[in-house]
């Protein structure tokens, strides 16, 4: 017998709604085998791709807003990332980024009890152009030197303030990668990346192989990366310890970086995945900051007498060991990692990070994050140079080469909007802490804040969709 369809009864209507809910919640999720990790695409260092699903196409777009406290750097960075998982197991991925950076960064000089004026010789497009721009630390004036393609540029900093130099830049960056399975357990990958700013360009190529063992419970991986950087400072590349107020005669310079990573990923239990990586890199070439100076201070008063461009070694070798863990505890996914780093400039650092993804409802989650970082100073780090003392072989006052601690507190919130898409917002507060007052500094410097570390807030919002 056939029963004629009519308006659904309560049980049938309830089942209809329940079924629709169940299927819409899982249709997207079932696409990855490791379903508990499906919502963790940015888990650093671990299984970032999950199990790539043949025949799927992923697009992830996001915008990052970055703001440093004290009117320093502001950046806006839109990113689009595309992954095409082909049916034969090959994966094509590409990403494109455009950055816009404005603001001011410490120029490397120490603060002083009175206002300071920085004068430098810059190149101008034509000898008759006069340019005026405004920097965060006060007006900057450019005066052309008649009959030459150069000009003197001056800017000043108020008493007691960390001297900052204004800048504005754009960066375009893109990368392209291709990976394929040579047999079901072995994946090869090749890739290339380019990043171009007005005064800096980076080109790199990479290749790697990963191999699964013991029914995919163990993965060993090896990858190599070669990078060539072109530094094209606006006014040329200064010599080490060249006076700020002098004509720079050198043009562009470059740097070459080679990097190798060996990694082991092991699933210890169904709930625990661990990864151990060793990373070695060597770089040679120009590694100084062409806009950064050191104050040469009077040994008695601490007053700045002149400013010299910094000078860093041309060679650097880095080692790091990373240990990451992904723990699935019911519906939550925890990431716990440690990293130890050492380089031949004398910097040692450790990073510890914990984050945990916790579902809120069946289609949203929150992922709090905490990261602690500590580093010791490079052996040539100096807050300033002292007049009359022997000039060291190398020196830089870049706070990133000094001793400091940094903590990051953040959270990510993600919500599934449609069957296969996620909207996410991630916010982080990053704060560097270090020594502000240097005991025994000459004269007035002992009472001036010499720490120029940053406090920054970043907010990233993005949307990803699988097609």
């Amino acid at each position: 017998m056939q029963l004629n369809p009519r308006k659904l009864g309560t049980i049938a209507a309830g089942l209809s709604a329940l079924s629709a809910n169940l299927l819409s919640a899982n249709a997207a999720q079932a696409e990855t085998v490791a379903d508990a990790t499906a919502n963790a695409p940015h888990a650093p260092g671990l299984m970032t791709e999950g199990a790539p699903e043949p025949g799927s196409f992923l697009v992830d777009t996001s915008v990052l807003f970055y703001q440093e406290a004290g009117g320093r750097v502001t950046a806006v960075e839109p990113v689009i990332n595309v992954v095409d998982n082909l049916l034969n197991g090959s994966v094509i991925n590409g990403a494109f980024t455009y950055d816009s950076l404005t603001g001011a960064t410490p120029n490397g000089a120490t603060p002083a009890t009175g206002p300071q004026t920085f004068t430098q010789i810059i190149k101008v497009a034509t000898s008759t152009t006069q340019v005026t721009s405004t920097g965060a630390s006060g007006g900057s004036t450019v005066t052309t030197i008649p009959g030459t393609a150069t000009a003197t540029s001056t800017y000043s900093t108020a008493a007691g303030r960390t001297p900052l130099a204004a800048f504005h830049d754009h960066r375009y960056a893109g990368n392209l990668g291709f990976s394929w399975l040579s047999d079901p357990d072995t994946r090869f990958k090749v890739g290339a990346a380019v990043s171009v700013e007005r005064d800096y360009a980076t080109y790199s190529v990479n290749a790697g192989v990963s191999h699964d063992l013991f029914q995919k419970n163990t993965t060993v991986a090896l990858s190599l990366n070669i990078e060539q950087d072109e530094s094209q400072p606006y006014n040329g590349t200064p010599n080490g310890f060249q006076n700020l107020n002098s004509l720079i005669t050198n043009g562009n310079d470059h740097k070459t970086v080679a990097n190798v990573v060996v990694g082991l990923t092991q699933s210890l239990t169904r709930f625990w995945l661990t990864q151990l990586n060793y990373n070695y890199s060597t770089s040679s070439g120009y590694q100084s900051d062409p806009y950064r100076v050191l104050s040469v201070v009077d040994s008695a008063t601490g007053a700045a007498l002149s400013y010299l461009y910094e000078n860093r070694p041309r060679d650097r070798a880095r080692h790091s060991v990373y240990w990451g863990n992904k723990l699935t505890l019911g519906p939550t996914v925890a990431d716990v990692s440690l990293r130890y780093y050492h380089d031949t400039w004398g910097i040692n650092s450790i990073t510890a990070e914990v984050s945990e993804q916790v579902p809120i409802t069946h289609n949203s989650y929150i992922k709090p994050l905490f990261r602690y970082y500590h580093q010791g100073a490079a052996n040539f780090f100096r807050n300033y140079l002292v007049s009359g003392a022997t000039l060291p072989q190398y020196a830089s006052s870049d706070s990133r080469l000094g001793r400091f601690n940094a903590t990051t507190i953040g959270a990510r919130y993600g919500i599934r909007l449609m069957e296969d898409s996620e909207l996410y917002v991630q916010a982080e507060d990053y704060r560097q802490t270090g020594t502000h007052y240097v005991a025994g500094a000459p004269g007035a410097l002992a009472n001036l804040d010499l720490f120029s570390g940053v406090h920054a807030i970043s907010v990233m919002t993005g949307f990803k969709v699988k097609m």
Partner: protein, 305 residues
Amino acid sequence: MDAPGLVGPCLGATPFERERTQVQTHRFQAMGSPCEVQVDTPDPALGRRLGAMAQAEALRIEHKYSRYRPDSVVAAINAGAGQPVPVDAETASLIAFADQCYRISEGRFDISSGALRRVWTFDGSDRVPDPAAVAHCLLAVGWDKAIWDGIALTLKPGMEIDLGGIAKEYAVDMALAKVTHHHDVPILVNFGGDLRVSGPRADGARWRVLIDAIEPDQRPAWLDMASGAITTSGDARRFVLRNGVRYGHIIDPRNGMPVPAAPRSITVAAETCIEAGMLSTLAMLHGEQAEHFLKTQGVAAWVAR
């Protein structure tokens, strides 16, 4: 709608006999049943590819929810021995679904009732279990004895769950979603008689599905479908006959006894396979009242007694 192996292929899906376009058929065995995926395309490579995709999804779900695999999620839950077992998001949503079904069916549908099938052997013989054995078995049956907090499931020691009653239909829906996600070619997914189509065929026609005869002398019926899913619950081949009483294999978990006067088979049409499967199972559990239940619920159904 039933544990793997309990229901034979009641439905044989075949495309309309008149050859209009070629249909690529991919066949495999999963969840104790013959499975097939029909792809309405003249391209055999595309048929194989999409068929393999649906098969992969069927095997994933079978692997994950099989009661018989020691490494399945269900085995992990059943091994919990009174301890809370946290589950992943997909499993949580299935358990939540089963939990709701238990409530709206007033206890008739119960994923913890699997143990009852072991005291009842439906082989056409006259072996009816001792009432004491049934009563003993009922001590470890009853979803109300489990603790489900949305994240972890705690079963009483000795208690077991079996998602076989929903996994096959769920697999059909998921396999169809997966394939249609990647390609818009019309397909029909049929796992052991639970089937769903993605929409009309490429030329706009309906899919023709044969419904097997219940008794050898009955003629097969056919059904044309352009959308949705159909499933069949039935005891056509599984029963115990004692003193002229036919005990069907649909057991009421509330008393541990086969549902009296249940129809031989119920075929239900609905939007999704899991919905159709649950409706046909619930209708079967209403026994004598099956037609009344289907009528009051306004469900499109075919009942054979």
